[in-house]
């Protein structure tokens, strides 16, 4: 069994493993998929972090219509549908749901879950700009979260425990980064779909297992001779790439394009930065997760992310950019209007904009647009 299959197999049995762990008294801590909840804190008190990253089913989006109007981000509505329909078993098992309040879409999701479920929900704020006071605010939220987790588990989060957890999470991020960056020199080393699967798995799998498997996979990839690729190289970016939302990647595969780097605010775990282990660890967590992280589109200003995209496009020598956001995520919609001119000016590249409400009927027109874009890049 190769490493990818091992991960698939592990994920298939993960729910059962988690129920067993729960039966044995372990606490399960769910978190929304925006990348602002440090798993380190959960691991340090002996609980199990679970990223609520699954989505992509339009039926769940429609189900949310009973609780909120349709003009909220598709991913947030899908989460409402999954949590309230009971379709997502992870929502059923969490002892605490941590909701970093990133923008009004996630705030809407939090409010609906607070009203219509009995889940224990812990929201905390993520400011929309970087700076001294913003960092202080985010750190304050993490400190409250630490206290809440200690209450939940009855375990004190000590410095050695937090350090151990940070070391483990650092390893995971470093391995994801290493594998991702291999694509810079060897674009065919791993398919985007596989890398996205690894990233998603890192939000759900047992952390020790994940790190061990990523180490083996990294070694395995190093042994491989560089693979030649045929189609254009693509940078895929956007608001949310949830587990289960594979249509864009599938369509790109079908037309022979190669996504060599992805950048998403939700669904995918940020892996570019690590937690500094010397000094105050809580401050180091805030520094890594808030200050060092390239900001998502809902930051204002959000230019840091746009500059990062330009850098990625250059570093990975891509042939084009595909911007994929979900409906009613206004921050991304607005940035998608002016980023193409920045991209063109800085790199000469073109961008294709795709939007989705997880509706299966979108696939036809999406296919045509992708085919045309890729065909253009080939010329």
């Amino acid at each position: 069994m190769n490493e990818m299959e091992k991960i698939s197999s592990h994920l298939k049995g993960r729910l059962v493993d988690l129920w067993r762990a729960k039966d044995q008294g372990r606490k399960i801590v769910g978190y929304s998929a925006g990348g602002y909840m440090p798993e380190e804190l959960v691991l340090a008190c002996g609980a199990i972090p679970v990223g609520l990253i699954r989505s992509g089913d339009h039926a769940m989006v429609e189900m949310a219509g009973a609780y909120i109007c349709r003009w909220i981000d598709t991913f947030a509505r899908a989460q409402i549908g999954m949590a309230l329909s009971g379709e997502d078993p992870y929502y059923k098992m969490v002892d605490l749901l941590v909701m970093p309040n990133t923008d009004n879409n996630i705030r809407a999701l939090t409010d609906v879950l607070c009203i219509h479920t009995k889940m224990d929900i812990f929201p905390f704020g993520v400011p929309h700009q970087k700076g001294k006071y913003a960092l202080e605010y985010y750190l304050h939220g993490l400190t409250k979260l630490k206290k809440r987790l200690e209450e939940l588990t009855g375990v004190e989060i000590t410095e050695p425990k937090l350090r151990e957890a940070a070391e483990l999470c650092n390893k995971e991020r470093a391995l994801l980064k290493e594998i991702s960056l291999k694509r810079m020199s060897d674009p065919g080393v791993i398919r985007s779909k596989d890398f996205v699967m690894l990233n998603h798995a890192s939000c759900l799998a047992d952390k020790q297992f994940m790190v061990k498997t990523l180490e083996s996979l990294s070694k395995e990839l190093k042994k491989r001779s560089p693979a030649s690729i045929q189609g254009p190289k693509i940078l895929l970016t956007g608001s949310t790439l949830a587990q289960g939302d594979s249509k864009v990647l599938d369509l790109l595969d079908e037309v022979g394009a190669n996504v060599v780097i992805e950048e998403f605010a939700e669904g995918m775990k940020p892996y570019w930065q690590n937690v500094t282990l010397n000094g105050n660890l809580m401050e180091a967590l805030a520094d890594c997760y808030f200050m060092k992280r390239v900001c998502p589109g809902w930051f204002r200003p959000g230019r840091e992310r746009l500059d990062f995209l330009v850098k990625l496009a250059k570093d990975f020598k891509v042939d084009g950019v595909i911007w994929y956001h979900l409906m009613y995520r206004d921050s991304y919609k607005l940035e998608s209007h002016y980023f193409p001119s920045i991209l063109k000016k800085e790199t000469g590249l073109s961008m294709l904009l795709l939007e989705s409400d997880y509706d299966p009927s979108e696939v036809g027109q999406m296919r045509t647009r992708i085919e045309t874009f890729i065909e253009t890049l080939r010329r």
Binding site: D111, P127, Q129, M327, Y328, S331
Partner: protein
Amino acid sequence: MASFYDRLYTLCGYEPEELEKQRPRIEATLKKLGLGPGDTEAAEDFVRRNHEVDLLGVRKILGIWLKGLTDLVLAKDEGKKVFYFGFPSIGGIGMAVAESSEDVYSGCPDVVLCHTLGQIFNKLNPILEAGEQNGLPAGHSLCTLQAVRVGALAKGIIPIPDMVSLSSYFCDMGSKTDELLCERYGYPSVAVDGSMDSKWGEFPDFDPMRIKYLGAQINRLFDEVEKHMGVKVDAEKFKQGLFRNADYMKAMGQLSQVMNVDPLPISMATVGGLARFLGTADTRWARVEGRKAVEILIQEIQKRVEKGYGVVPKGAPRVLVGFPSFSDPGLIHMMEDAGLAVVAMTLMAPLRVKSWESNQPTLGEQRAEIEMRVGFYHSNYAIAKRWSEVCQDTKVDGFVWDYLFNCRPIASTSHLLKKVVEDETGIPVLSLEVDIYDSRYYSPSSLRTRVETFADILRSRKAAKN
């Protein structure tokens, strides 16, 4: 010498000598806006049909909006530095900037344009279309108030500002739209940021860190105003700005009390739609003439009450509405036509805010504390609680929660607010999807059936009670 716009401006409360004095500015404004004799004639007709121009107070308020429009359109031509703030914004900030220098235009251009090009000239659609063509396309539930700003800048009818302040503590989209505009026009912007992260049910309590963060942001804004515009907003000017803002709102509070009788003596389209946001958007004329105009209106309403005059029949079901339209008085008139007495509006009704002794160290934090205690920027829970209290205090028969579909923070309350208010008060709530800035897709006539049905329900309940 008489001109084609005289009848309209006179109808809107301009005195003859004022008209003569302002003639060059009015003409320059109309020219820039591309408005000619046909437009002012049509506007006169529109104003007569939609506003209670038999009331001097109403005419004066219309005139103040027109003066604000002139100030806005000509600001750069007249050598002013231009400072724009967003809506919603923390009350008093724009006023404090205006208080600090005579050489500054400080205002919320989109709200001014809605009230003038929308409510007077009925000519907002071309601006909205320009907004759609320049970054805010239709069909994506993007804020049409922002589309007004984008469109007006694209058409060159309002000046490119020297600096903008973004309402980042409530709204994601206003800030991002201004970012788009900053990319295009290169002006500096300062986001006053916050995070509405209070736990459901936490209100009236709050985490003190929320005040610290928002307060620091407000303090920083004034530093940036000095840096980019050379205007120093000191503590005294800030206090003056807050006072002016509070003073206007106090007058609006008095107006609310006077009109809270049966039959309803004045339309909410006038009170909420026309007068309420004057102090929010325009900082010069609202400051100079706003209170006086509202006082005139109060006196006129009192006379109407004495005569037993009503804009709807006595005994009509009394309702609270969320928002009046900023650009189309027809929305409230349609509710009145359906037989509803719109006696109160959320953003104008007195709130159960207990007094407190603030020990916050800075003015920014003191202002932030007010916001937390009032609740609009606290959480959706706080908003639902406040509106429930308003329903109870105004003893309304129903609540029309006309939520803006294209405003994420408001749209997120589409269902939950109805549930909370109905649970807390026992009165029916109509959750009505609207766009208060753009009535092309949510016209009053398209909403009529739902409102009429709601009015029937309220009448039946009233009849059953009696």
